[in-house]
Symmetry: C2
Subunit: 174 residues, 2 copies
Amino acid sequence: MDMTSKLTAAAERLFDRHGYMATGMDRLTEAAGMSSRTLYKHAGNKAQLMARVLTERDRRFMARLEVQSVDALFAALEDWVRVEGTRGCLFLRSRAETGGDTPEIAEAVAAHKAAFHKRIEEVVAVNLGREDPVLSEQVLVLLEGATHAAVYRGAGAVSAARAAAAILLERARA
Amino acid sequence: MDMTSKLTAAAERLFDRHGYMATGMDRLTEAAGMSSRTLYKHAGNKAQLMARVLTERDRRFMARLEVQSVDALFAALEDWVRVEGTRGCLFLRSRAETGGDTPEIAEAVAAHKAAFHKRIEEVVAVNLGREDPVLSEQVLVLLEGATHAAVYRGAGAVSAARAAAAILLERARA
DNA sequence: ATACAAGTAAAACGAACGTTTTACATGTCA
DNA sequence: TGACATGTAAAACGTTCGTTTTACTTGTAT
């Protein structure tokens, strides 16, 4: 594993567990197991590092959403939550922590959320045989809600969302 | 308006717009229009101030949820978003920013989310004529999802959630 | 008159922040 | 052999952080 990957992985973990602002660069150098000189060579600066964490997370998360049915979207989220846990959406959290004032972070978040929305619309279209913007928005709300409700309600929130989506889909089919 | 209320209001605004960690006490004294000596007399310290902001917000938010129907819950959230905007749930955000490591904040968040969940169960019971834990969980997920999806999808996310809840409720009645 | 609560303005505290620099070790390739 | 890229260790940079302190003003109630 090269230094850049090691750094990005350590940063994602710390930013997710303790927050972006609360994570100091000293803690990061320690967790990544490298000197601060090397860290800055690969990271540029803290905001760029956060942006790279988000880009990498987007890649990993979106890869899991390469499915053909709405139900599989929720199954994928269940897997994600089981494997990675959930402390809320890291994209929204990083935007909120920076007040949207850090361009590279705001852009990474916007890109992810646009891709997320688009993927949902595609899956709904495949599953339903036609486009359905209203159902897509509802599925998006359910996925977003499951992610955040799971923080304090546990994985059951994802199952509840999954069942709700099934009902909405059935209804849209009629 | 007394100093404590002025401080709490200013703190809520700044913490919400820029994040808890990113908001310095200097900015807070300026926004609240008081000396740092007076601020600390009323606030105790930063974490206690955040906890008081959350307690006050809980009071204000829960007051809006004193309704008799599930649909009215979503109407109330629509009002809230229109009046206050949304940058995500301030309770979950403050917990995430502190990694859950600040007791007074973690407790204020837990108390709010417990009350939130309880209120939803009550409204569902009143609206449906019986308790329904599954539907309640789905309504909770929809409310949470609407709050967070509205950050980047706008107020339409709340209407979508509202319509979805109506369908789930209708179905639960049958 | 005086004691006291409650406020301001501003300096100071040590600690921690993000970042850069200095000095040195190592392996690799022309 | 020697230049170069890549790494470490550790000190130092100036800034900002949360918080406390010093010195002073004001309104109010005994």
